[in-house]
């Protein structure tokens, strides 16, 4: 799965999780999206695991500072 594929799929998940329209970019972070609080963050992570059929390791998503980091993590786990 290429990074572009991951960004494409991720955009679909963001569209489902957030009411507001959010454009997925590498620099995008939680503070940029009003709805992206700790609660929706949990939903987002669970939805990503389900849709990419991956399993994150405990604590590792916390280290991702923005969408770019998150995509790197997804890429790591989809290998």
């Amino acid at each position: 799965m290429t990074k572009d594929d991951i960004y494409g799929k991720l955009q679909g998940i963001f569209d489902n999780v957030f009411m507001e329209e959010v454009k997925v970019t590498p620099e995008l972070a939680a503070k940029d999206v009003e709805e992206w609080d700790s609660v929706t963050h949990v939903s987002l992570v669970l939805a990503i695991e389900e849709q990419f059929k991956i399993r994150f390791r405990v604590g590792e998503v916390e280290s991702a500072k923005n969408v770019g980091d998150l995509v790197n993590l997804i890429a790591l786990r989809t290998k």
Partner: protein
């Protein structure tokens, strides 16, 4: 979830783009589609997006405007979001309600229930969902402890939890739904897992059973154990999500749990379905009885398909035994349609199990309306099942109140489809539920036996009728007089008599008079016949003969004649004379005497004569019991 009867994960959400489009265009079709997609959804991401679409649809004003508001509080020993979002969505969709949600703090449920001044009660919930901490459902001790100790601890855990729920119900007036405990998926501790109540597995299982068996009526169980088993216990847990955000279960399991909560709330508000309307060909048996004949249909243990149909019938019978009324609606000739029920040895269902039988060539929607009307039940208590998608679709269009299930072409799945339909679930069974079926059956069985008009003799025999013949008595006099003065149709002479005159007939030697009560295996018809005869020289004259039309052509006419002949012989008469006095209403008996072998008297209209012979006797299917005549 890969299963026999549920949509495959990949097939889910296929309608999402269409749904988004409908909402964008503020199309009213959006909401029903949203409900349908929600029913099917098992994926977490899909459920989230349906939740978002619902909110958008509501903002666009697409939801029903007359929805009631449900106030649902969630409390528990885990983080209750995103579960609460899912509960809100499923409840709103499956209960057609506006849902307000209040969520308790992580693992504060005990203090929230205990504080009468707290936020929980200030919210004024109509439903409280309790998700207890699995950590509190563990045996404190060793695997080797005496079972009695382990059992006592498990019972105490269950009792404490139910007491807590009862307090919440008492203080709030809300219905309380408590989740029981999913079983751990791990092998540990091996063989002792099931041979000691000290293992988490057995301990939780025992606590769950105790919760269910001892719940008070305002506390309802959300069966997380069952849901996790159904899903697979390995898939129900997510240890990472527990450590990171104290999620009680995996995302997939949260969806199952939320749907179950919604179903439970819905079942509190609406009654279960009462009537199952069944197609026949390729639904109850394989093949078409009209073409293949009763010998050619597939039912029974001689083929796998036949066995599947038979198993389906067994399930239907089980439903009937817990109060669901079985009815038939089939495009068939009636005589052919009933044949398998009457004489196919492998059929499980018999005519007596069907409370209403419609086999004809009218549209099914019409027949279904008739069934509801005849059973005096609302259309929304009916479920229609058919193997033919076209029939199901037509019924959906013309009788939308009726729930339609298309069984498809694999009879091995029919029983499972009904078992998973969630339409006939019961939270309790009352005596009335169980009696309802037999009550409807009494009426229906008479009708249906009559429906087999092909064999009238068999029908009459099967009724097991007993006629109770008795001379007039003072006790019966009011009823006799009432019948004499009320009966118009089956009444040969329409002679009226007061109660005093009836008593006079009773005491006079000139008269021989009697009544008959009729019972059959379905019940008592009461006093249905009055005869007054008068001795006139060599003649026994039938002064009065009237009968209730409800028992017409059952053989009562024949047995009445036998009784008259017996009395004539006893009184030494040589002839029986019948009179017919026509009125505007009694045309139905104008030919009665000729049909019983009387000849018209010459020159005297309405006078019929039967010469008494030793062998004169009429046969019927009524057994006669006699008193005092």
């Amino acid at each position: 979830m890969t299963s026999q009867t549920e949509p495959q994960p990949d097939a889910q959400g296929a309608n999402l783009p269409h749904l988004k489009d409908l909402i964008r265009r503020a199309d009213a079709a959006a909401f029903p589609l949203l409900v349908a997609e929600t029913r099917r959804a098992t994926q977490f991401a899909l459920a989230l997006s349906l939740n978002n679409l619902r909110k958008r649809a509501e903002i666009a004003g697409l939801g029903p405007t007359d929805r009631a508001t449900l106030r649902v509080a969630l409390i528990g020993g885990a983080t209750l979001r995103p579960l609460a979002d899912l509960v809100e969505h499923f409840t709103s969709m499956l209960c057609a309600a506006k849902v307000d949600i209040w969520v308790g703090e992580y693992d504060s449920y005990i203090s929230e229930v205990m504080d009468p001044e707290g936020e929980l009660y200030a919210f004024k919930p109509s439903v409280i969902l309790v998700l207890p901490a699995a950590g509190r459902c563990q045996y404190k001790g060793t695997l080797a402890d005496p079972v009695a100790d382990q059992r006592a601890q498990a019972e105490a855990v269950a009792r404490d939890l139910l007491d807590l729920c009862q307090s919440a119900a008492d203080r709030s007036g809300a219905e309380v739904i408590v989740c029981n405990f999913a079983l751990p998926p791990y092998f540990d501790p091996g063989p002792m897992r099931s041979s000691s109540l000290g293992s988490d597995y057995s301990f939780r299982k025992y606590v769950n059973t105790q919760l269910g068996l001892n719940r008070p009526s305002s506390v309802h169980i959300c069966d997380a154990e069952f849901l996790a088993n159904r899903l697979g216990t390995l898939r129900a847990v997510d240890d990472r999500a527990w450590f990171e955000s104290k999620q009680p279960y995996s995302a997939e399991m949260l969806v199952q749990l939320a749907r179950e909560v919604a179903e439970t709330i819905a079942s509190l508000k609406r009654p279960a379905k009462k009537v199952l309307v069944l197609d026949l060909d390729n639904t109850l048996w394989g093949g078409v009885v009209g073409d293949d004949g009763v010998e050619g249909i597939e039912i029974g243990t001689t083929s796998p398909r036949g066995e599947a149909f038979r198993a389906f019938q067994h399930h239907l019978l089980a439903l009937s035994q817990r109060g669901v009324l079985l009815t038939v609606c089939s495009k068939n000739d009636h005589d052919k349609a009933v044949e398998p029920f009457v004489r196919h040895p492998e059929m499980v269902l018999r005519l007596g199990d069907i409370v209403n039988f419609k086999a004809n060539w009218e549209p099914k929607s019409e027949n279904i309306r008739k069934i509801a009307a005849e059973l005096n039940l609302g259309l929304d208590s009916l479920v229609f099942v058919d193997d033919n998608p076209a029939e199901v679709e037509i019924v959906r269009q013309f009788v939308p109140e009726v729930t339609g299930i298309c069984l498809g072409d694999d009879p091995s799945l029919f029983a499972s489809m009904l078992r998973d339909s969630r339409l006939f679930e019961v939270s309790s069974l009352t005596k009335e539920d169980l009696e309802r079926v037999s009550l409807y059956k009494q009426d229906a069985e008479r009708q249906q036996l009559l429906g087999q008009s092909t064999d009238m003799d068999a029908y009459l025999t099967s009724l097991q009728m007993v006629g109770h013949v008795a001379s007039f008595s003072a006790v019966d006099a009011p009823r006799i007089s009432q019948l004499i003065n009320k009966s118009n149709q089956f009444n040969l002479t329409t002679v009226r008599r007061t109660e005093a005159e009836v008593l006079e007939v009773m005491r006079s030697d000139r008269y021989e008079a009697f009544t008959m009560r009729l019972t059959d295996r379905f019940g008592d018809h009461g006093l249905i016949l009055v005869v007054v005869t008068r001795v006139d020289g060599d003649d026994l004259l039938i002064d009065t003969w009237l009968m209730s039309c409800r028992v017409l052509k059952r053989g009562v006419e024949q047995e009445t004649m036998n009784e008259i002949l017996r009395l004539a012989r006893r009184r030494g008469c040589k002839r029986v004379v019948g009179l017919y006095v026509p009125t505007k209403k009694n045309g139905m008996v104008s030919g009665l005497y000729p049909s019983l072998g009387f000849s018209a008297a010459t020159g005297e209209a309405g006078r019929f004569i039967l010469e008494l012979t030793d062998e004169a006797h009429f046969s019927s299917h009524i057994e006669i019991s006699r008193s005092d005549v």
